[in-house]
């Protein structure tokens, strides 16, 4: 694997390879000594133009458990407001000998620009770009769904026939986009539920069904219900009237939680707004996979870094 920029272009085989390697990584994390020597001597740069402690420490833990050297490069705010261009930042990292760059950026497409610019030879992992994609989040979500469903028998399986419902701000969510493509590639049936203002104006090319009514979606007994974080600032741009109204119509409260099928799981990428898109009952229930997702995130990111840095490089985007 040369880069991991999105899930839109990730093949089923490449995705399963990552998930299966992540199973191996997860197994190693059950041992007393969690550290592997695999990436000794490799340098992984966490290049974060946006604050994201959770994602950064997850990648940091993943790289360190594979014995890579980790450099955290926090460029708060946009490259422009900081006064240094993406090109100069990239060339600096190249000069320092980065083998992989894990990039979080507020601008959609910035990791692709980095990967295709010729400024840098390192592999690029998209750790969330604007409102575009967040591929490792989708991979860890798929891993979590698979694990809950198939347990120790997960390896080699896809998500054929499973129903996954994603609820919240689809328009601005990179998590939603990456999940839509990946879950579809893995055979799941995806439904999105949102206020009409928070669905992209034209989703005719998306392999999803759009619903505006969360109760209807809950009644359909999805295998997984994925709640997205809602940003309260959206209220000011007239996407919804008040957070109370949003919570009433699109929040997972105790009543809706009780209405879910017995084996439905509740997911959230974090950080959660308790009481807004998800109630404390739901967040803390046995259906909740929130902490599994965090733990699985490290395994999945270990797999991605391993395939990027220890595998044969190729340019077709598939895992080698």
């Amino acid at each position: 694997m040369r880069h991991l920029l999105d899930t839109k272009t990730l093949s089923r085989d490449a995705a399963l390879r990552i998930l299966d390697v992540a199973e191996d990584m997860a197994d190693t994390q059950q041992r007393e000594v969690k550290k592997l020597p695999t990436l000794r001597g490799k340098t992984v740069v966490n290049l974060f133009f946006e604050d994201s402690t959770r994602t950064r420490i997850s990648f940091e833990a993943a790289a360190k458990r594979l014995s890579a050297d980790v450099i955290n490069f926090s460029a708060k705010g946009s490259s422009v407001s900081k006064g240094e261009s993406l090109q100069d930042t990239a060339q600096t990292l190249q000069a320092m000998g980065a083998d992989a760059v894990v990039m979080r950026h507020g601008a959609s497409g910035a990791p692709r620009t980095l990967a295709t610019s010729g400024w840098i030879t390192a592999g690029v992992v998209n750790a969330g770009d604007g409102t575009h994609e967040h591929p490792t989040q989708a991979l860890l979500d798929a891993f979590t769904i698979r694990k809950r469903r198939f347990g120790a028998d997960s390896r080699g399986r896809d998500l054929r026939g499973l129903a996954v419902t994603i609820v919240g701000d689809i328009l601005h969510s990179r998590v939603a986009r990456s999940n839509v493509w990946l879950l579809h590639t893995l055979g799941a049936n995806v439904t999105v539920v949102a206020p009409p203002t928070l669905v992209p104006q034209d989703v005719s090319a998306w392999p999803v069904r759009v619903l505006y009514d969360l109760d209807e979606a809950v009644a359909e007994a999805p295998d997984a219900l994925m709640m997205l974080r809602i940003q309260i600032e959206r209220m000011n741009a007239a996407y919804f009237p008040t957070e109370r109204e949003y919570s009433r119509r699109w929040g997972l409260d105790a009543t809706r939680l009780a209405g879910l099928a017995a084996d439905s799981i509740v997911m959230h990428p974090g950080p959660m707004n308790r009481g807004l898109e998800i109630s404390a009952d739901a967040a803390d229930s046995s259906r909740s996979t929130v902490l599994d997702q965090v733990a699985n995130g490290v395994s999945v990111r270990m797999a991605v870094l391993y395939l990027l840095l220890a595998g044969e490089r190729d340019d077709d985007g598939s895992a080698a």
């Binding site: 839109k8 946009s78 490259s79 422009v80 261009s85 993406l86 090109q87 950026h105 507020g106 601008a107 959609s108 497409g109 910035a110 692709r112 620009t113 295709t116 610019s117 770009d129 604007g130 409102t131 575009h132 994609e133 990179r174 986009r177 992209p200 104006q201 034209d202 989703v203 005719s204 090319a205 998306w206």
Partner: protein, 449 residues
């Protein structure tokens, strides 16, 4: 002394008599053309003249020198992107004899002083006639009318006013501007973009923006302003020009308005005739432009509108930017593309080679009508004796890969680099003075090696 005469005199061969033999008038019948003292003095078949330099242009398409109603020359203020001289050279290389310079310079061309400076810079450059456009509002802020009358009365004789880059959004200011310029036969050239509907907009809103996660620029943000403006123009009986129309819906509105008799004209850019929003998929900011590249359906609709006369002209919206403004993340990149050097070739590809229009139509949409809309005298005139000799000789036959060698301005932000385009500008005459000779741009107007 007019500006035009001054430019002609600056060329050392202004007095050279040129006899062009065998060109094809607007792509139709063969004709010889005798040029002397900046004028066409004779046309016919089998002409001869003692002492004249004879130029064989057999088979080339002869067009009235092209006129661009929408050029950004960047000077004063943004000379790293373009200057009046470099932009004039790019224009001549593309077959242009005159360009209208948009006022979004620094300072903004919103006073008689700045438009006269722009005019003087164009005269000094001498490659094309540079006709300044004045800002509609002070600083293009959309709040107070600029001194439109002073610009009209200045040596620059401004007739076209635009806040291009920004929409004259306030309906009252737009109404007053439309009314006011009637006093001197002016026209308001509107950049139609509802600012509230396009906050943070990065590309056309649709299937592609939904996937790329780029904030959408909806077609309705253009169409709603055009609809409002044609109604305002009708109400006050004024002349409106719509800049860089880009959507199928906009074509429909203009068609409707023209049927009602509204005094409206419209332009389309070469890139909106050829390119679609699919090109945004690689996040290559060379394809970032405002208004954005639209869908295939829109491209087909603007072609049809141009062919049936709903859209009056092609204008380049030549918008130079330095490399650092494009070699960056899409969201941080500047809007705009250079277009002067490629416009005629793109029009051939999108409109002529597709059979939608013929060469006389090209003369109309790229020379005669832009000159008429901008009230620019001495351009877009017939290629007959007694008219100024601004002429473009064009060979439509070669097909070559467009490269930076084709670019003659200061910036290289062309969306066509690496793309095959037909055609070659062989000669450009600006009021009798050669600026392009045998396909090569001269270092100085009229000075041949």
């Amino acid at each position: 002394m007019t500006a035009l005469g001054h430019a002609a005199e600056s060329g050392s061969s202004a007095t050279e008599t040129l006899l062009f033999r065998g060109a094809s008038l607007e792509g139709t019948g063969a004709l010889d053309l005798l040029v002397e003292d900046g004028m066409i003095v004779e046309t016919g078949v089998g002409l001869s003249r003692a002492g004249a330099t004879v130029v064989d242009v057999e088979g080339l398409v002869m067009l009235p020198g092209l006129v661009d109603l929408h050029t950004h020359l960047r000077e004063p203020g943004y000379e790293a992107s373009e200057t009046v001289l470099t932009g004039s050279r790019a224009a001549a290389a593309g077959g242009y004899a005159a360009v209208f310079a948009m006022p979004n310079t620094s300072p903004v061309a919103d006073t008689a002083g700045v438009v006269e400076q722009e005019l003087a810079l164009g005269e000094a450059a001498g490659f094309v006639t540079v006709q300044p456009i004045g800002a509609v509002t002070v600083g293009q802020k959309g709040e107070r009318l600029a001194e439109l009358g002073a610009m009209a009365d200045s040596r620059a004789r401004v007739r076209v006013f635009s806040d291009d880059g920004f929409c004259v959004w306030d309906p009252l200011i737009m109404r007053r501007a439309l009314e006011y310029v009637k006093a001197f036969d002016g026209v308001i050239a509107q950049h139609a973009q509802d600012p509230r509907l396009t906050e943070g907009a990065q590309m056309n809103e649709g299937v592609v923006s939904a996937e790329l996660g780029l904030a959408g620029w909806p077609a309705v943000a253009e169409e709603s302003i055009i609809a409002r403006d044609v109604l305002l123009a009708e109400h006050v009986g004024s002349r409106l020009h719509v800049c860089h129309l880009s959507t199928a819906g906009s074509v429909e509105i203009i068609r409707w308005a023209k049927r009602r008799g509204v005094n409206v004209t419209a332009e389309v850019t070469p890139h909106h005739l050829l390119l679609t929003d699919e090109l945004a998929r690689g996040y290559d900011a060379r394809f970032k432009v405002n208004p954005p590249l639209r869908r295939e359906e829109d491209v087909l609709a603007v072609r049809e509108g141009l062919a049936d006369g709903t859209i009056d002209i092609v204008a380049t919206d030549h918008a130079p930017h330095p490399p650092e403004a494009k070699a960056c993340e899409w969201q941080a990149a500047a809007n705009g593309m250079v277009g002067l050097e490629s416009a005629l070739r793109v029009v051939q590809l999108a409109m002529v080679d597709t059979g939608l229009i013929t060469w006389p139509d090209v003369a109309r949409i790229m020379s005669r009508e832009p000159a008429r809309i901008g009230r620019l005298e001495g351009f877009g005139t017939p290629l007959t004796a007694g008219h100024a000799a601004s002429v473009t000789f064009y060979d439509p036959s070669p097909v070559r890969t467009f490269s930076t060698h084709d670019l003659r301005g200061r910036s290289t932000n062309s969306p066509y680099l690496g793309r095959e385009l037909p055609g070659e500008v062989r000669w450009t005459l600006h009021r009798g003075v050669p600026t392009v000779v045998d396909g090569a741009l001269l270092d100085e107007p009229g000075v041949r090696a």
